[in-house]
Point group: D2
Chain length 405, copies 4
């Protein structure tokens, strides 16, 4: 009768551990994404952040540790030291969030896996596919959890979109269009001292991909996640629009999916007037859907020949997955930080299952180290295709059964 789901609080819907999980963090001082991880972990009270190597400069790390209210003896100047020390404490961290620039992901992740600590790593997973495959192998071998933070895939209405594809309401998927359109690198701010821009456009810290790595991997994961299809072929044209910039800041791709569906991807950082324009459209032979980050709480859903429906977060009739990923009633907007917190809270369920040896009472759909590696394979495939004037390449991981390593 009510349009409102009755269980408001996430605690009533997404299984929570009986105690908070002890979390550490690598990176965080001075960046954008480190504080996002910390806030996301804090939002639903399923973690306590108790240790950190907040900067590669020990003094900066110490100073930030104070501002973050961390115990001084658990603020480290080096992530290797942190991994060893925490592994040796009875109350040591159970999981670590890696939020550094890309080039440090591999080494940091390896250090914590070596220390037996579960890993939550920002994207892109590594700067080379070789490194990514090593992490996949190590995670499998150790049995430790390893998640990659594709936060956009945890928006409730993205989960709803995925559920509607999966349950057949779209029929056979024919078309997948994804775009991530930004303007923040339109001017050469990377060459003029903006620290966020500088490391993202420097091959030494970002890897070989620019926009294709920074936002392309998000778009790629989203396309796979919502469509439920692996990409089997891509043709890419990557560009560096700003003179002097060292990495691509724009890319146009054609996609082919395993079921025969076709698609496109646009990623750009040089389109004036676009804030963070992530958008996905999926069309099947029965219905279509569209989601845009700038109206994140709604999903446009259209059965062929019937009126367009605007599906709202929190309304009755949504999938269990979408319902789990929400905190407040319809019309009270949830945003980017809530989506990011969703992955932390969902991962908490998985971690607790592993820690306690119990089953998680619902699926955990967060991106894994395998998804992370698929993202790196995508970057390399796109770069290769673009160098070869758009030749179609298969972006799947080597030695793949399905498309998993």
């Amino acid at each position: 009768m009510s349009a409102q789901a009755t269980a408001y609080t996430m605690a009533e819907k997404l299984s929570a551990p009986p105690r908070r999980i002890r979390l550490g963090i690598v990176g965080g001082a001075g960046g954008f994404i480190g504080p996002v991880h910390a806030l996301a972990a804090r939002m639903d009270n399923r973690y306590e952040l108790v240790a950190g190597a907040l900067s590669s400069r020990p003094d900066v790390s110490k100073e930030a540790g104070k501002a973050w209210f961390l115990p001084p003896d658990r603020v480290y100047g080096d992530y290797r030291e942190m991994a060893r020390a925490e592994a040796g404490r009875p109350d040591g961290i159970e999981a670590v969030a890696i939020t550094t620039p890309n080039h440090l992901h591999y080494d940091a992740a390896k250090a914590f896996l070596d220390a037996g600590i579960h890993v939550i790593c920002d994207k892109p997973l590594t700067t080379t596919l070789d490194d990514a495959l090593l992490l996949v192998e190590q995670a499998r071998r150790t049995g430790l959890c390893f998640f990659v933070t594709h936060g956009f895939a945890a928006y409730p209405m993205i989960r709803e979109a995925r559920a509607r594809v999966a349950d057949g309401r779209l029929g056979t998927v024919r078309l997948v269009h994804v775009e991530f359109v930004m303007d923040w690198l339109t001017d050469p701010i990377d060459l003029m001292g903006d620290r966020h821009a500088a490391w993202r456009t420097d091959p030494a810290t970002s890897g070989a991909g620019g926009a294709i790595a920074d936002i392309g991997t998000h778009a790629y994961h989203l396309a796979r996640f919502v469509s439920g299809q692996e990409v089997t072929g891509l043709s890419a044209a990557l560009h560096t629009m700003v003179p002097g910039r060292r990495l691509d800041d724009n890319g146009h791709l054609l996609l082919e999916f395993e079921n025969g569906a076709k698609g496109t991807m646009i990623v750009t950082q040089v389109a004036p007037g676009n804030e963070c324009g992530l958008r996905i459209r999926v069309y099947g032979d029965k219905a279509g859907l569209e989601w845009r980050q700038d109206d994140a709480d709604h999903l446009r859903f259209s059965e062929q020949g019937k009126p367009v429906q605007i599906i709202g977060r929190g309304e009755a009739g949504l999938s269990a997955d979408a319902q789990r990923m929400t905190r407040v009633p319809r019309g009270h907007p949830e945003g980017y930080l809530e989506a990011f917190a969703n992955i932390y809270s969902e991962i908490a369920a998985a971690l607790w299952g592993k820690i306690s040896g119990t089953a998680v009472p619902h699926p955990v759909a967060c991106a894994t180290v395998e998804d992370g590696a698929i993202g790196i394979a995508f970057i390399e495939a796109a770069l290769r295709s673009s160098r070869q004037r758009g030749e179609w390449v298969d972006p799947r991981l080597p030695s793949v059964d399905g498309s998993k390593p």
Copy 2:
């Protein structure tokens, strides 16, 4: 050069206390707003929630205390007991969040003020104007902080709207239109067992106002807050659209402001297809603006004779107040919980100033106990006008200089 503000994290913009403030909570188990308060206090890590009377039923309070990871000895079955006990501890709470149904606000607030503890209280402040005025008086007398959680007024783009009115960019304000349009009480769910609906439509727990109290006070505060003008006259028509409902679920009001501006207010809970449709429009003789909660990160701003501008949260050139109220860059949507957290984080600055005897380095614009009382006076004025067939009444507080008690 960049459209992006460079200081991403709130910590770089909104002054934070050097340690977390010790917070307690009254209410929270089973409601919607209690967990919102807790999450909001947690979001920016400026509070530690260490005590609670989470329910008026002691066993429910105890059980919820476990789920919230509170120290068992600081989970109370009664808020009076909590006030006394916490006041007696050296590590006792410094502030309390009151999140019960309306009828308990007064008594709980009084208990904590009596105990020398700062108060953060949900709206509406009380169920009678007499009670509200007593709280105003007590807060003034004790010198304790007393804030009322009008979270919508802490959306960054509401702060920006207010700044643009205040700095004269609209010219003389002529028109103020505010509406809060919902559908969740279209059906008689209050009569059919929905607990959230039941207490809000019961005079014993809600007070004499229904929609006019539950959402009207928000709309009223927003109109005053953005326009910078007190309301000097109102003509109200309140209605109960659902047969059997005991309080108003719809209201239409005409408003007059102290500077001569005119306005309207629509509040309803019975408009199918509307989630949480809060919207404000202010028009001056030079420019106008419009904000809608369903696009909370943007403000429509129009100078007469020039193209409409869409002002985005996080972009360059915004007011200092709007900049302080934000965490993530443009286009990464922030929503209701962030707005609610904004008031907690802003209040933290005020509380720390009081605790430490130091000046707060920026204005604190959160609603105070006086604003809360003005809201109660508004409810009573609207009820009176409506009973008298829309006769114009002055909703200002008695013995007012300006409109403050």
Copy 3:
């Protein structure tokens, strides 16, 4: 199977006369609305415009007649002369469009009725209710057709909205909100030589109402038309926001409808950033709908507890009335001129029925002289209520059975 209605052209849906109806026009040179009438009459090829008194200045009329390609001997300097001359020709006009400023409507309409010529008159019908009632009486007595051009009521999706209320899909109507929000008179352009603004703000040419007449009558007609309910009470606050202006440029009204529904109306010409913001919302106990002129081809429709639907012009399943009022397929926007042409084409069916003595094969829903008089009664009621500080008044016509004279 297709989402597209198969009959594209209006000729396949709205009955057309076997020959074009001979039309004359009064006014048109120099104004905005005269050319709109002419274009609207021409659009669907159901009229031939063959005579005109295009201006009260004979030389201007002659000059304009050339530009409009009218036969020189049928371009008149005076509408009374035109009525007499055309009535005396075997090929004389069968209907006349009256498009002058308001103060001439009565006299011109009377002249053509006297001459036995059907009348299509712009709104507001007259400048006084007495005049309006005389025209109602004369139209009834003569049996001539008399329509008033409320073009907004002929938008296809307004017709669809009306059909959905009428067929009970909304249940009992509880709320009706209508607003007409413009900015073009924000500055005192009427005092600075703008001819369009000047006559509309001059009591001698506009009548006693300003905004309440110019756009309020449109909003009022729309509210009645869509809701299917007469207004039985109103409380009005009209304002003149621009110093020196002689008529109201802003109004806020509370409304009561015959079935007990409540509503509001906002009309303004002084809200910067608003072009021609006509919007109507109707909420019943089962469903609600919303229409905005700035998205005229769509209707937001919401059954309580179900997802919002976006109903598009031209899609399958719409009411017969909405289907008749359309020319091109879904997604090819139709606008204001098409809506205006709809009334001309619908009126053509009525005129041909009268001329030929045959039945019109479908309802004709255009506003009649009675609707026009109801609009004048509304203006007078609003002015009266506003003068009496918002006292509730009954805006219905005198000697009413239902609310028709």
Copy 4:
């Protein structure tokens, strides 16, 4: 001071011929686009439609001629007969509108050019590039006007977009994205008797291209028109999504422009939930713009680092070209038919210039026969690239200087 342009009527802005131009039409009975041409020619009263071969079936033509009120002796069963007969009359048509299915365009156009009659032809110009080039040659040789009806390029805000690119406000154009997204062929309605769908998916009547011809040529023209750049390379993937369909119903293209800009094109008829989703985005190094047909009266314009502006049709400060293409004030929506009428009215100026031997007092920007041929070259290039697995091809006309034949 006013946000409103003061010249409302098109006649005050776009030069009109001193008498109506005599127009004939080929096609029109039973189709969608024929009546659109007729209505568009009629809208601004610059043509009189006096002759037609409304169908290839003489009896259907005769019958339709009656309904269209054409003189019976000028309703022809055959366009060749019509061309000869009209050329022989002193009051014969001066121009002809060709609105048949694609396969007849060439032959009909040639017949009228042979007869010395100016041609206005629907798109795509022909079904083969050879035919298109013959028409280009004949038009040049005869000196007759030959326009192709790309109506979307005559939306006022498209003209404004083009003007803003041309005057340098975007800086150097870097990116051009155009999409035309429809759903009407999602189901195999072409195989089930829908006549509009059937001829468009039949190579015998449509030519070798399906969606790429029907809507791709519009998108392509728009990209060239707004960007002011010719396309020098394209990589295409065309698809037939509906089993049994004989032509492409979907296409994804990468584009390269002569100045180095890059772009994408999506054209589809199989995306459920999309009516007629034409959209173009152009980004330069200084600013960007976006236009969507579903909000045709507005243009989103963004200077890098400044707030997004919503530019409205009819407001002050627009380019002369945008101002000429408009009839009614801001906020009174104009749509598809007005855009189509714009090309007819603009062409009327060009025709009158030719007829009278006088200069046209403003540029005429309608698509010419050369643009039509460029569209056919585009279709062939896209088909060729798609067959060759997306190999980049140069779509420019053969023997091109610049890209004009």
